[in-house]
Symmetry: C2
Subunit: 514 residues, 2 copies
Amino acid sequence: MNGAESLVRTLVAGDVTVSFTNPGTSEMHFVAALDRVDGMRCVLCLHETVATGAADAYFRMKDSPASTLLHLGPGLANGLANLHNLKRARTGVVNIVGEHATYHIHHDAPLTSDIEGIAGTMSKWVRTSASSKVVAQDGADAIVAARQHPGQIATLILPADTAWNDGSGPVAVPSAIAPEKVSDAAIEAAAKAIEAGGRPLILLGTRAVRAQATEHAARIAAKTGAKVLAETSNGRIERGAGRYAIERLPYPVDAALAATAGITHVILVGAKAPVAFFAYPNKPSLLYPENAEVVELAAFSEDQEDALARLAERLGADKTMPVLSAASRPARPSGPLNTDAIAKVIGHLLPENCIVTDESVTTGRNFFKDTHGAPQHDWLSLTGGAIGDGLPLAVGAAVACPDRKVVALQADGSGMYSVQALWTMARERLDVVVCIWANSAYAILKGELANVGAKNPGRKAHDMLSLADPDIDWVQLAGGMGIEARKVETAEAFADVFAAAVSRKGPFLIQVTF
Amino acid sequence: MNGAESLVRTLVAGDVTVSFTNPGTSEMHFVAALDRVDGMRCVLCLHETVATGAADAYFRMKDSPASTLLHLGPGLANGLANLHNLKRARTGVVNIVGEHATYHIHHDAPLTSDIEGIAGTMSKWVRTSASSKVVAQDGADAIVAARQHPGQIATLILPADTAWNDGSGPVAVPSAIAPEKVSDAAIEAAAKAIEAGGRPLILLGTRAVRAQATEHAARIAAKTGAKVLAETSNGRIERGAGRYAIERLPYPVDAALAATAGITHVILVGAKAPVAFFAYPNKPSLLYPENAEVVELAAFSEDQEDALARLAERLGADKTMPVLSAASRPARPSGPLNTDAIAKVIGHLLPENCIVTDESVTTGRNFFKDTHGAPQHDWLSLTGGAIGDGLPLAVGAAVACPDRKVVALQADGSGMYSVQALWTMARERLDVVVCIWANSAYAILKGELANVGAKNPGRKAHDMLSLADPDIDWVQLAGGMGIEARKVETAEAFADVFAAAVSRKGPFLIQVTF
């Protein structure tokens, strides 16, 4: 058994059973080994940004890593922007990156590059396998690294001869271990902050935005009056009717400052003390009062749900009735499409138990309001601001959860960044409804141009923010990659087409022009 | 005048007059400054891989750098694979990469990343501007660095406050300087190697594949019998009727070894001693005989044309009549399409003075044979093996040379990597005819699977190399981005459509299905 097969068998033994791939010559032995090993699903992606983004969503849904298979330095580089998002989502992945044969690297062939250097910019764990005899053990170590709570990027670089020479056979992979629980002192410190008589904010992130955790937070809020918010961007929020209607810290600086005005204590639960996405002239970087005390209840790596449960108990809130969302949907809207009408269509029709991947950018700022009472669902956001994550996330969520409908809410500009994801949806018959918000602009930047104080933008600046001339025809793009699609221009049409699309299986795209 | 405007004025003063951009919030002041400064053309690209690839072709055509404008670490990361190709083409560019305001960086906002680390993997020159007062001087330094012969990647990182605070005004940029000439000793060493009585090979790269240089090489060949080859991949070969019919060292290892069998001296002229693109079990890494003597006539940075002229003179070949290509075109082919018929259509119809951007991969291995006698043209190749360069190269060549027709010869798999380039062709009304070789496969990998000795590939391996299921409809993809397109399935239809497309102005795409 060669190194490649030893590695693939090790990955499967370690429950890494999906590989989002775009292989090249140096990965051919790995590819060939896939047919000799049961249990590894390979998903071909036509650009590596799709592969890494899909692996991100897979982990967010399964809390267990997928692998990617990338071709040398450039293949890794192509996946790097979504690895940035993955890092900011605090999730894990095992990247397998091909490399020239060990004896060939020093010849500086055209595709030679500093793979460890590229990997190091985003990875927590990087190793170049030294030989075919150790590559399986390296794979096991990579899995252990990727599973480090809450999740880490592990990149294993695989010289071609470590794949094709004789391997060790598969090696055992240690079982996944539970996250550490927080200390009693941390519970006590958070409790004291809440009991201090000020205006505490409990900020939830990482796994603290899952349903059980937010319910504990809701009990604490009901009992103590503490304010509860989620971070602006989150890996996966479990929400909907019967769950706590968690709100997110707003993205715009002024709105965020309004949400934290008067806060005296910021209690972090798998979250980071909030800072502005960007700096703006004459606005602060920190999104909470300077004199507020920051208290960490649970680090990213710790058991946040347990921490909230124990904090609730300490505060006598464990029997308190939380305020949860009642089942409720907005009425079916009619008339012209705008961001409000779009939100109402989504709220009116979002299917039960679906997974929402949200890269709506400006169009989606108010989606939560109209979906708190929708049937229960998961909501996955762009976490690192590297646009082009939405469609890949939809691929990964659909692969992770084949029995759940995925609804991809997608801005047009960022959708174009990874439009190749549509092909993989067609190839794999993924159950995804893609809604493209076709406002033909990088709309967020129109506001940002004013926000940073850039005065009197002219024609050239306007052109750099516009996606018109030519308008993108998403129905043709989707058709070109084998996906049925429709364009809608009224709320009624959007509702009709969306209802039909979610009621059937398989990929479908709706171009929502407004 | 703020830092951004000071920088833009400096760039224009330094003859950097095109910016291939995808800006974000941190670059808004730079964007706003564009309207206050004459002479900078901004070309919006819907993915940064298009921006960097286009900048590569711009330099190859002009021998003078363009700039890119990229949004923070992820924007740079998205452009990194084509920067790898640019580095391997030995060309220059000034990357302007936005960064958070200096005082905001340490807050680790979601989009924060190690931009210098990412830039460092591909750039020769990297600097983060320290203030708005020095950003213009940094820009001038970046231009000087990018122009270092033969060309270098210079990356200037621009914190937002260095753009919006008061700047210095524009600073002077030193004039470009000519490359250094090689020493007489280098000429003598090369001459002695040719006169040694063995079988010398003169290997041309960088600027040594331009018409004047290859003509000098042809005189030397005619006089001495020395063999002349170009490197496998080249930035820009000037070729066609009346020029030397330079052949390239073949890509497949066995063919390359056959081409260099018996060679006793390898004389490098802006070229690298040839190595295999990949290692294969039981095949050598070096593509020339181990005991051959390697002599460098001219380094990448030196004046290769002058070196060849002086070598010709030293060898008494300066009055020798070179053997140049006679004007000749293959007959118009008919019948089913295959790689041979495709090559004959191209050879039959390639327009005078056009620029060919070639990412044909397997389909294009024999294109040279049928185009040596075509009207004079330039041929730009994928240099670094990072696929997805072809369509961006076509964008950059068309922007650099608006009066010349660009013919993009494009494999389908690599074309999908940067399909967003089609939109920029439409937006800018670029005069490009794109031919997509739609064989619905990563055809090169089918051969590579066998070449690396991976035996009995099964269904999963096959699926990873196939672009069928679904077949990509390039006519719809092009239409979705505002480009007229046709699909052809016979040699006659291809010839008819190609002839019509090259006879008019503006972008057009031909899906060549075979």
